[in-house]
C-alpha cells in the first residue's frame, strides 16, 4: 500500500471556536491506482490533500506514505518528502513568477535530482506548451498556467501525484487530454493519483472515488 490514512482529525481555529474539518478519516491508495475525491465547497478536500503532501500536520491520526508515518516528522524530513516523493498540483496555480515556463517546468524535477530533458520535451508537447516555453507566468492564460503546473509535477515523476481540481481552469477537451496524460503517467510509472474534482464525468474515469461530507468520507 503506497498511501494509508488512519483516523485523521483536523481542526481549524476560528472566531466561533475550533472548526472540525476532518473527523476520523481512513483512506488507502495502492501504487498504480487513481482515486477521485469529491465533496461540496468547504468540505475539506484541499485540507486533506495538504496533509498528505506534508504541507500541514493533522491534529490526530497517522499518514503512512511508502511505509513511513509522516505525522510528526520534522521540517527537513517533510521538505525532503515534498521534494522527492509527492507532487502537488494546487487548486490555484502556483508558478514561480520570476522564472520562465521552461524553468518552471524543469524546476521540481531538478530540485528532486531527477532532471530528464527528453521527458520534459514530451510533456511540453503533449501539454501544448511548446510555443510558450520562453514566456513568463504572468504572460500566460489561466489554462496555460494550470498546464505548466501539471507539467512541472509530472516532470519530476513523483510516486504520488496529488491534484487539487487540476482541470478547473481548462475547457472540456483540454481537461480530458490533461487527465489522459496524468492517468497514462500513473500507469507507466506505477505512481498513484489522488485527485480532487467537482466533475462526475472526470471522477468516473478514475479507478475509484470517495466523497467527503461533514468531515467524514462516504
Amino acid at each position: 500500500m503506497l498511501l494509508r490514512l488512519h483516523q485523521i482529525d483536523k481542526f481549524y481555529p476560528t472566531g466561533e471556536g475550533p472548526l472540525h474539518v476532518l473527523n476520523g478519516i481512513d483512506l488507502s491508495l495502492e501504487a498504480g491506482k487513481s482515486l477521485a475525491l469529491t465533496g461540496e465547497s468547504g468540505s475539506g478536500k484541499s485540507t486533506l490533500l495538504h496533509l498528505v503532501a506534508g504541507l500541514d500536520s493533522p491534529d490526530a491520526g497517522e499518514i503512512h506514505l511508502g511505509g513511513t508515518n509522516i505525522v510528526g516528522l520534522n521540517d527537513t524530513a517533510l521538505a525532503a518528502l515534498r521534494r522527492g516523493t509527492v507532487g502537488l498540483v494546487f487548486q490555484q496555480f502556483n508558478l514561480i513568477p520570476s522564472l520562465d515556463v521552461a524553468a518552471n517546468l524543469a524546476f521540481q524535477a531538478r530540485l528532486a535530482g531527477r532532471p530528464d530533458p527528453a521527458w520534459l520535451k514530451v510533456l511540453a508537447k503533449r501539454l501544448g506548451l511548446a510555443q510558450v516555453l520562453t514566456r513568463y507566468p504572468e504572460q500566460l492564460s489561466a489554462g496555460q498556467q494550470q498546464r505548466v503546473a501539471i507539467g512541472r509535477t509530472l516532470a519530476a515523476r513523483p510516486r504520488l501525484v496529488l491534484a487539487d481540481e487540476p482541470t478547473g481552469n481548462l475547457d472540456e477537451a483540454t481537461g480530458d487530454a490533461v487527465l489522459d496524460l496524468m492517468l497514462s503517467l500513473v500507469a507507466e510509472t506505477g505512481a498513484a493519483l489522488l485527485m480532487v474534482t467537482h466533475s462526475n464525468r472526470l471522477a468516473n474515469r478514475l479507478n475509484a472515488r470517495v466523497h467527503l461530507h461533514a468531515g467524514r468520507l462516504v
Binding site: 504541507l55 515534498r82 521534494r83 522527492g84 520570476s98 531538478r110
Partner: protein, 802 residues
C-alpha cells in the same frame, strides 16, 4: 459618501501600523535633519547680523583708514574742530585669562543715538563707566564666562553679540595697549553744512558706507551653504522612504480605490481625500520632525560654534533659540516633500482605469518600464555633471555638479544592478541558484528606491570620509612643517619682550620674531607677518609654489609670500604686485599652504615689516632649541619673568589645540552623514518589511515543492545582503567622485584651499561592514517571521485569489 470613502481609505493604515509608522518616521526624520541645519544656520546668521549691527554699523557711515590700520586720536580732534560730528571707536582682541574677547571702546559723550547699544547714561552709571577701572558690558553668556577672570566690573547687557565686551574708549585703549589710538570714527547721520571737506581735514581716511552684512556673513557663507547641501541630501534620502511607503500604500489600496470609484465617488474627490490624508500626515510628521530637528541641532551646535570660532573667528552662541521661521520652513518642507513624493502615485491614481485588475505585479512592471526612462535620465545627468566639471566654476557650479552626479548615479543604480543580477543568473548552476538570482532581479523594482537611498548615503559617507581623512593627513603634515619651532613665547610688554630676547640669546639656538600687523590687502582683511632670515623657514615652510631663491628675495625686502586663500580669492600669482597697508607695493614671490585661516596672510622680511610699520607690537617669538631642552627652558622662562602658563607654549601644545579645532570642523558633516546612513537603513527596513507581505505568493510555491521555511528565510537574508553589498560596491566609485568634487571644487570655493586626495580602503571596508550589518538587520526581521510562519498561513496563499 465622502465620509464612507474616508473611513475605507483610512482603515488601510489601521491594518498596517508598521507601514504608517515608517511613513511618519521617514518624513519626520527627513524634516528633522533639514530643520536641524536650518536652525543652526539661522542661529549663526542671527549672530552675524547682531555683530554687523553693533554700534549701528548697519545704519551709520564710518571713517576708516584705507589700509585698515588704527589711526591717531589726533584725527578725531582735527575732524571735530573742522565741524564734523564724529565719535571715536577702538576695537581689538584680547584675553582675560583663557577667555578671548573682542573689546569695543566707545566715547559715550559723542556717540550717535543710533549706536547706543546700552543705556550707559541711565541713572548714575556714566561716571563709573568713564573713570578707572571702568565697566565692561557683556551679553549674559559672555558675562558668565568672565566670572572666573580678573576683569574690571562686568555688567550684563542684552543685545550685545557673544564674545564682545563694550567699555569706555579710554579703558579700552589701556586694555588693548593702544594708547591714543582709534580704529574708526562713527559719523552722525546729519552733518553740519559748511564743514571742511574730508580730503583736506583727514586725507588718510576714507568713508565707509553703512553695510548690512558684515565680513563674517560673507566669509562664512560657503560654510553654511555646505551645511545646507548636506541637510538637503539627508532630506532627499528621507524622501525615498516616504515615496516608497506612499507608493506601496497606494498600490495596496487599488482595490479600495476601484470599489469607491465604482460606487460613484468621483476621481476628483478621491484624489482630494488622499491629498487631505497626506497633508495630515505631513503636518503631523513635520511637527515631530522640527522638534526632533531642534534636538539634533542643539547636539550639533557646540561643534558648529567651535568650528566657526576656530575657522572664521565668528562667535555664535552655543544654545539655540526657537525661531518661528524654522518651524514654518520645517512644516512647509514636510508638506512639499510629501507632495513631491506622492506626485507619481496621485498622477497614476488620476488615470486609474476603472476596471484594471488589482495586481501587485502591475506596480513592479510599471517600474520595469520606468527602468529604461531612468537609464536615459541617468545618462543625461551624468553627462551634465561631466559638462559642469569641465566648464563650470564657482560654488554654485560645484553644488550643481554634486547634485547631478549623485542623482545620476542613484538613477543608474537599478540598471547596473539588473545587469549584475542577469550575469549572476547566467553563471548560476542548479535550480535553486537560478531561482535565487531571477527572483532577486524581480524584487529589484520594489527595492530600488530604498537601494538608491542607501547608495546616496553610502556614497556621501565614502566621499566625506575620504575628504576628512585626506584633510587630516595633509593637515598633520602641514602642522609639522608650520610649527617647526620648539617653543612659542608671548611677552606682556615691549620692555619685557626686550628682556626675554636678551635672556634667550645665550640660552637658545635662535629667537624668531612673530610680529604682525592687521590691515586690508586687495580689499580683504589680512595679516602681515615679518620673518627673520632663518633656516627654520627655508627648511620647513609649506610652500606651494615659489620663484627660485624665494627666501633671499624675502630677506632683501623686495618680495612677499601670500597664503593660498588670498591667492585664490584675488586670483594672484607669482610676479603679481600687491599693495600693502600704508600704500607700498611688493611683488609676490611665493604662495604657501595656510589651512584653517579664514583671512589672507602676507609674509615679508622682518626688517621690511619694521621699516614700514615702526610701531608694530613686538611681543611674540618662536624659540629654536634642542627638543630635549625645551621643557626646562620653558620652565626657566616662566620662573624668570613670572609669565603665565599660556604665554609659554610648546609645539606639542599648539598642535593638540590646532588638531582639535580641525577635528571639529568636519564633525557636523560627519554627524549628518551618520544620520543620513541611519535614515537609509530605515528606508531599507521599511521597503523590505512592506514587500515581505507581498512576497508570500512568490515563496510559497518553492516551499510547497520541498524547501523548508528556514532554508527560504536564509535565502531571503542572503538576498538582502547581496543587494546591500552590490550597492556598496557601486557606492565606492561614486563616493570617490564625490570626494574629488568636494576637495577640488567645493572646498576651494568655501575655504580657499585645495587638498590632495588620499584613498583609505580600510574606511570603506568598515563602512561596508556597517552597511551589511544594517541590511542584514533590515532583512532579518522579515526572514525571521518567514521562518516562524505557520504552514496554514503559507497555504492560504494557494487558497486566495492573487
Amino acid at each position: 459618501m465622502v465620509w464612507t470613502g474616508l473611513t475605507a481609505l483610512l482603515s488601510h493604515w489601521r491594518r498596517r501600523p508598521v507601514q504608517l509608522a515608517m511613513l511618519l518616521l521617514g518624513l519626520s526624520l527627513a524634516t528633522a535633519l533639514w530643520s536641524a541645519v536650518q536652525a543652526i544656520n539661522g542661529e549663526a546668521r542671527a549672530s552675524y547680523d547682531r555683530a554687523a549691527a553693533i554700534l549701528g554699523q548697519d545704519r551709520l557711515a564710518q571713517l576708516v583708514r584705507e589700509d585698515g590700520a588704527r589711526m591717531d586720536q589726533q584725527e578725531f580732534v582735527r575732524l571735530r574742530r573742522a565741524g564734523w560730528l564724529a565719535s571715536p571707536v577702538i576695537e581689538g582682541e584680547m584675553r582675560f585669562g583663557d577667555v578671548r574677547l573682542r573689546v569695543l571702546g566707545i566715547d559715550p559723550l559723542t556717540l550717535p543715538p543710533q549706536a547706543q547699544q546700552v543705556d550707559i547714561a541711565a541713572g548714575d552709571q556714566l561716571l563709573p563707566f568713564i573713570t578707572a577701572p571702568g565697566v565692561l558690558y557683556a551679553a549674559p553668556e559672555t558675562a558668565a564666562r568672565l566670572t572666573e577672570q580678573a576683569t574690571p566690573p562686568v555688567r550684563v547687557a542684552e543685545g550685545l553679540p557673544p564674545g564682545t565686551v563694550l567699555t569706555d574708549i579710554g579703558q579700552a585703549q589701556v586694555l588693548l595697549g593702544a594708547k591714543d589710538k582709534i580704529s574708526r570714527l562713527l559719523l552722525w547721520p546729519d552733518q553740519p553744512i559748511g564743514r571742511a571737506p574730508l580730503k583736506v581735514t583727514a586725507p588718510g581716511l576714507t568713508l565707509r558706507e553703512p553695510s548690512e552684512t558684515g565680513d563674517l556673513a560673507r566669509l562664512t557663507d560657503s560654510f553654511h551653504l555646505n551645511l545646507t547641501a548636506f541637510g538637503f541630501l539627508a532630506f532627499a534620502v528621507g524622501l525615498f522612504i516616504v515615496h516608497s511607503a506612499i507608493g506601496l500604500a497606494f498600490e495596496q489600496r487599488r482595490q479600495v480605490f476601484r470599489t469607491l470609484r465604482a460606487l460613484g465617488l468621483p476621481a476628483r474627490v478621491l484624489v482630494l481625500l488622499l491629498i487631505a490624508e497626506l497633508l495630515t500626515f505631513a503636518l503631523l510628521a513635520g511637527l515631530v520632525g522640527v522638534a526632533l530637528g531642534y534636538v539634533v541641532a542643539s547636539a550639533l551646535l557646540p561643534d558648529v560654534a567651535a568650528t566657526l570660532r576656530g575657522l572664521y573667528g565668528a562667535d555664535v552662541p552655543g544654545t539655540l533659540s526657537i525661531r518661528p521661521a524654522v518651524w514654518a520652513a520645517g512644516l512647509a518642507i514636510a508638506v512639499i516633500g510629501t507632495l513631491v513624493a506622492a506626485a507619481q502615485s496621485l498622477w497614476r491614481l488620476w488615470h486609474l482605469p476603472l476596471l484594471a485588475a488589482a495586481q501587485p505585479r502591475a506596480w513592479a512592471r510599471a517600474s520595469e518600464r520606468a527602468l529604461r526612462a531612468q537609464g536615459v535620465a541617468a545618462m543625461v545627468l551624468l553627462l551634465t555633471a561631466a559638462g559642469i566639471a569641465h566648464f563650470g566654476s564657482g560654488l554654485e557650479a560645484g553644488f550643481a555638479l554634486l547634485a547631478a552626479l549623485l542623482l545620476g548615479a542613484a538613477l543608474a543604480l537599478p540598471l547596473v544592478l539588473t545587469g549584475i543580477l542577469h550575469l549572476g543568473g547566467r553563471l548560476a548552476r542548479g535550480p535553486l541558484a537560478e531561482w535565487f538570482w531571477a527572483d532577486t532581479r524581480q524584487q529589484l523594482p520594489g527595492l530600488s528606491l530604498a537601494l538608491m537611498a542607501l547608495l546616496l548615503a553610502l556614497a556621501a559617507n565614502v566621499g566625506v570620509s575620504t575628504m576628512v581623512s585626506s584633510f587630516r593627513l595633509t593637515f598633520t603634515g602641514w602642522l609639522d612643517q608650520r610649527l617647526a619651532s620648539e617653543l612659542y613665547v608671548t611677552a606682556r610688554t615691549e620692555a619685557e619682550a626686550t628682556a626675554i630676547r636678551d635672556w634667550l640669546a645665550q640660552r637658545s639656538e635662535a629667537v624668531l620674531p612673530i610680529w604682525s600687523i592687521e590691515g586690508r590687502v586687495a580689499g580683504q582683511p589680512a595679516a602681515i607677518y615679518g620673518v627673520a632670515d632663518h633656516v627654520t623657514y627655508r627648511d620647513n615652510w609649506p610652500i606651494l609654489s615659489a620663484v627660485p631663491e624665494v627666501w633671499d628675495r624675502i630677506a632683501t625686502g623686495d618680495g612677499a609670500l601670500i597664503n593660498e586663500q588670498l591667492a585664490r580669492r584675488q586670483e594672484l600669482g607669482l610676479g603679481d604686485q600687491i599693495t600693502l597697508p600704508g600704500g607700498w607695493r611688493a611683488s609676490i614671490v611665493g604662495v604657501y599652504a595656510d589651512y584653517g585661516n579664514p583671512i589672507g596672510q602676507v609674509i615679508i622680511g622682518i626688517d621690511t615689516l619694521v621699516q614700514h610699520y615702526p610701531d608694530v607690537s613686538r611681543l611674540r617669538y618662536a624659540i629654536r632649541i634642542a627638543p630635549g631642552k625645551a621643557e626646562s627652558l620653558a620652565a626657566g622662562l616662566r620662573a624668570e619673568f613670572g609669565l603665565p602658563a599660556q604665554n609659554v607654549i610648546d609645539q606639542a601644545g599648539i598642535k593638540v589645540f590646532s588638531l582639535k579645532v580641525f577635528e571639529r570642523t568636519f564633525n557636523v558633516t560627519a554627524a549628518l552623514n551618520v544620520l543620513t546612513l541611519g535614515v537609509a537603513g530605515l528606508a531599507m527596513f521599511a521597503s523590505v518589511m512592506t514587500l515581505s507581505g507581498m512576497r508570500l505568493p512568490q515563496l510559497a510555491p518553492v516551499w510547497a515543492m520541498g524547501l523548508t521555511r528556514r532554508h527560504l528565510a536564509w535565502l531571503e537574508l542572503s538576498r538582502g545582503l547581496l543587494l546591500a553589498a552590490l550597492t556598496m560596491l557601486a557606492a565606492v566609485p561614486v563616493g570617490i567622485a564625490l570626494a574629488f568634487v568636494l576637495l577640488a571644487v567645493v572646498n576651494v570655493e568655501a575655504f580657499g584651499w585645495r587638498l590632495p586626495m588620499h584613498l583609505f580602503p580600510g574606511d570603506w571596508a568598515r563602512l561596508a561592514a556597517l552597511a551589511l550589518l544594517a541590511a542584514g538587520l533590515a532583512a532579518a526581521v522579515p526572514a525571521w517571521r518567514l521562518a516562524r510562519l505557520s504552514p496554514s498561513d503559507l497555504l492560504k496563499v494557494f487558497a486566495h485569489e492573487r
